[in-house]
Structure formats: C-alpha cells, structure tokens
C-alpha cells in the first residue's frame, strides 16, 4: 500500500515535471517567434518608407531641380539602407540617416512655395511622417520583445532549456552616435 502510494506520488511528480518542461519549451519558442515577428514588422515599414524615396525625389525635382546635393543625400541614404539589411544595429544607423535626409529635403522645400503647396508633396510629407511614427512604435515594440527574450533565456531555470535550444541574446534596434538623433518630420 505504502509502496503503491509512493509510486503514485513519484509518477505524479515526474508527470508534473514533464508538463512543466513542455510548457517552458513552448513558451521559449513563442518568445523567439515574437522577436522574429516584431523584426519582420519593423522591416515592412522600413521598406515602405524606402519605397517613397523615388516619389519624393521626382516630386522635388519638378520644382527644385538644382537642389542636387539634398536629392543625392536621400538617394544615398536609401542605398545604405538596402546594403544594411540583416543587422539591426547597421539598419538602425542607415534608417536614422534616411530620416535625417528626409528632414533636409523638407527643410529645403520651405524655400520653394510652389513645392510646399504641391498636393503631391504634401501627401508624401504626410505619408512619410506617418511611417516615421509607426516605425518609432514598432522599434519600441521590437526592443521590448528583445528585452523579454534576452531576459527569459538568461533566467533560471529557463536558461537550461534555452541552452539546449541554442537560443542566443538578440540585438536591439538601436541607432548609434550621431545617427541617434532621429529628426521628427511633420507636415
């Protein structure tokens, strides 16, 4: 009787442990996927913002063709963004460069009343401003997801399973140095 009770208790404990490991594993997979998903959502907005560059350049050219320096700056920043794909830190720096280039374009537009009043230009300015806001939110969301992921895989007992799953700390989407000053673009 005693042996049977003991066996039942041990069996229950082993079962509870197994269930706990499964729950923990699923939870870590979810946390990892959340980071991937958050990154994909940042990437979509970066792409959408990058796609607006040719439209902006063409619109500005129509009114201020001799502002070549500023237009080249935007085009170059877009190229840097394309080259930086893959590493969050490099992408953050390139993204900040593009934001700065947009600000320069909008500042230059102040000197051209016809350009400033153009429907096309106003629509683009509004669209880019909206994308900047969404990008800021998603960057924050991604960084929060990374913080949750990195904390989880370093906590006990999660780290035991995280090591087996080869989970490593993820990189934050963080602009460095001068690129950190992301300008705010408002219509």
């Amino acid at each position: 009787m005693v042996a049977g009770t003991l066996a039942a208790v041990v069996g229950l404990v082993v079962l509870a442990l197994l269930v706990y490991v499964v729950v923990l594993y699923n939870s870590l997979v979810r946390v990892r996927n959340n980071v991937d998903r958050a990154w994909a959502n940042v990437d979509v907005i970066l792409q959408q913002r990058s796609d607006e560059v040719p439209n902006l350049v063409n619109t500005v050219k129509g009114y201020a063709a001799h502002e070549k320096t500023v237009l080249e700056e935007v085009t170059r920043a877009r190229a840097h963004l394309t080259d930086a794909r893959g590493s969050p830190a490099a992408l953050a720096a390139a993204s900040a460069e593009l934001s700065a280039a947009f600000t320069h374009v909008f500042a230059v537009a102040e000197a051209y009343p016809q350009l400033k009043a153009s429907d096309n230009f106003l629509a683009l300015q509004k669209r880019i401003s909206s994308l900047e806001d969404i990008l800021a939110d998603r960057r924050e969301f991604y960084n929060d997801s990374v913080a949750i992921h990195n904390t989880r895989i370093q906590e006990f007992p999660d780290l035991l399973l995280a090591n087996q799953m080869r989970l490593t700390p993820r990189e934050y989407f963080k602009a460095e140095g001068a690129a950190r000053a992301v300008p705010s673009v408002k219509p």
Partner: protein
C-alpha cells in the same frame, strides 16, 4: 463528516461530493486560464494601436464606445458605456405548485447584448470583438418597479420606438451588467484586418478577436498588473492547489457514498 452521517444522508453526501468536484474543477480552470494569461502578458510586448500588426497582440488602453456602432447608454445611470448585457422581465404573480409556493416568476420582455467595444490608447482606436468570450463587466445593477411610476424613462422610450408593448402597471425587473467608458484594461488576442472599419488615417482597422490557439482576454489594468507580480502567481498556484484538494475531497465523498 463521519461514516454514520454519510449513511444517514447518502444522496446529500453524493451531491456534496459532486459539488466539490465541480467547484474544484472550476477553480483549476480559473487558475490555469489566468496562469496562461499571466505568461502571455509577460511574454508579449505591449503594442500601440497606431502601429499594431496583424497577429497576436497585447494592448493597453481605455475602453470607449465601438467606433462602428451607435453610442450605448446605460438605462440606469444615463452614462455612456462600451459593453452591456441588459434584460427586462415582467414579474408575474407567484403560482402555487402543490405545497410549495414559487417565489418569483419572470416573463422576458426584452434583452440586449452589446459586447464589442473600442480600445483607445492615445494613438488610435481599435475595435475589440470578444466573440463570446467573457468580459470584465464589473458594474452590475438591478432595478424593480413599473414604467407607470416613472421608472427607466430612456428604456421606456427605447421600447416604444421598437414597438414593444409594456403595460405601465406591470411590475418589472431590470438588470444590467456593463463596462463603463474610460475603464482601463489590458487586452490580448489576435489582430485581423477589417476593411469596413476605419481607425488610423482611413486605413483598414485592426480587430482583436480570439483565433486559433491565441488566448483572448480582457482584464482591468489593475488586475492585469497584479497578475504578473509574485503575489499574483502565489494566488494562482494556491487556487490551483485548492482546486486539486477540493476535487480530492469531493471524490472521497462520492466513494464514501
């Protein structure tokens, strides 16, 4: 309860046992559901409505009226509310059934369920459609009286517009459960696109619905915040253990019978 006591009331003991098993099961389910919510709140970062992407999402904000529906107003307070479950019944005279007298007989006249609502976090408003999942309708009020004595004028007018006939002399009973606008909540669920609604700059809106394996839950912000603390975990684990113990005692009662 002693064995002699059980022998004296076999059906009573059986019922007590079954009630304990049911109660224990309910307690375990409650604890499990909240433990899952706790884990989700911890694992998922909070998104903003303005930039929330399609898929699993966690949001935090104030409840507002559903942006696509007419404003909902509580008939008791006259204040706007976001989600409401209300019913109006006619109280019929008690009817004798043998030696026992039935205390209350109710005849349903009207009922209303408006459960979708908007969630505003300062960056936009998102529609939340619970699709049958429970909501924290914390405000619950009842009223008894008759329309002839000037009770519930807004409901009286509402029913009149809809052609529902209610005799002013009828004794009535009205009850409503609601979430008042402005209540701060935390929501988890799955965001999908809805081409009919508009929120952010005229683009497709996002709706939080339960979908697949993603849990759906709306919790008052204070409760959600308490859930992720160590104290919250202790309460949930204690509730789960109490549930197991209750089921064990219930099984003993049933077997003893």
């Amino acid at each position: 309860m002693s064995g002699e006591g059980l022998d004296s009331y076999p059906w009573g003991a059986l019922l007590v046992g079954l009630a304990l098993i049911w109660g224990g099961g309910w307690l375990i389910r409650w604890a499990w559901r909240h433990l899952r919510a706790r884990r989700t709140f911890q694992d998922v970062a909070t998104a903003k409505v303005r930039s929330a992407a399609v898929g699993p999402v966690e949001l935090r904000g104030r409840i507002v009226a559903d942006p696509r529906d007419d404003p909902v107003v509580s008939h008791l307070t006259g204040k706007p509310c976001a989600a409401i479950e209300a019913r109006l019944d006619r109280v019929l005279p008690p009817r004798r059934l043998g030696d026992r007298e039935e205390q209350v007989r109710l005849e349903p006249i009207w009922r209303c369920d408006v459960v979708s609502f908007g969630l505003d976090d300062g960056t936009g408003t998102m529609r939340v459609i619970p699709k049958g999942n429970p909501l924290p309708m914390e405000q619950e009020e009842k009223w008894s009286g008759s329309f002839g004595r000037g009770g519930l004028p807004s409901l009286k007018a509402h029913l009149k517009r809809r052609g529902v006939v209610v005799d002013p002399k009828w004794p009535l009973r009205y009850s409503e459960r609601r979430i008042d606008e402005g209540t701060e909540v935390q929501v988890i669920g799955t965001a999908i696109r809805d081409e009919h609604a508009t929120t952010v700059e005229g683009n497709a809106a996002l709706i939080v619905v339960p979908e697949g394996r993603v849990q759906f839950m709306v919790l008052p912000l204070q409760q959600a915040t308490g859930l992720v603390t160590r104290g919250g975990l202790a309460v949930l684990l204690a509730a789960g253990l109490l549930g197991v113990a209750t089921i064990g005692i219930g099984i003993l009662f049933v077997l003893a019978n």
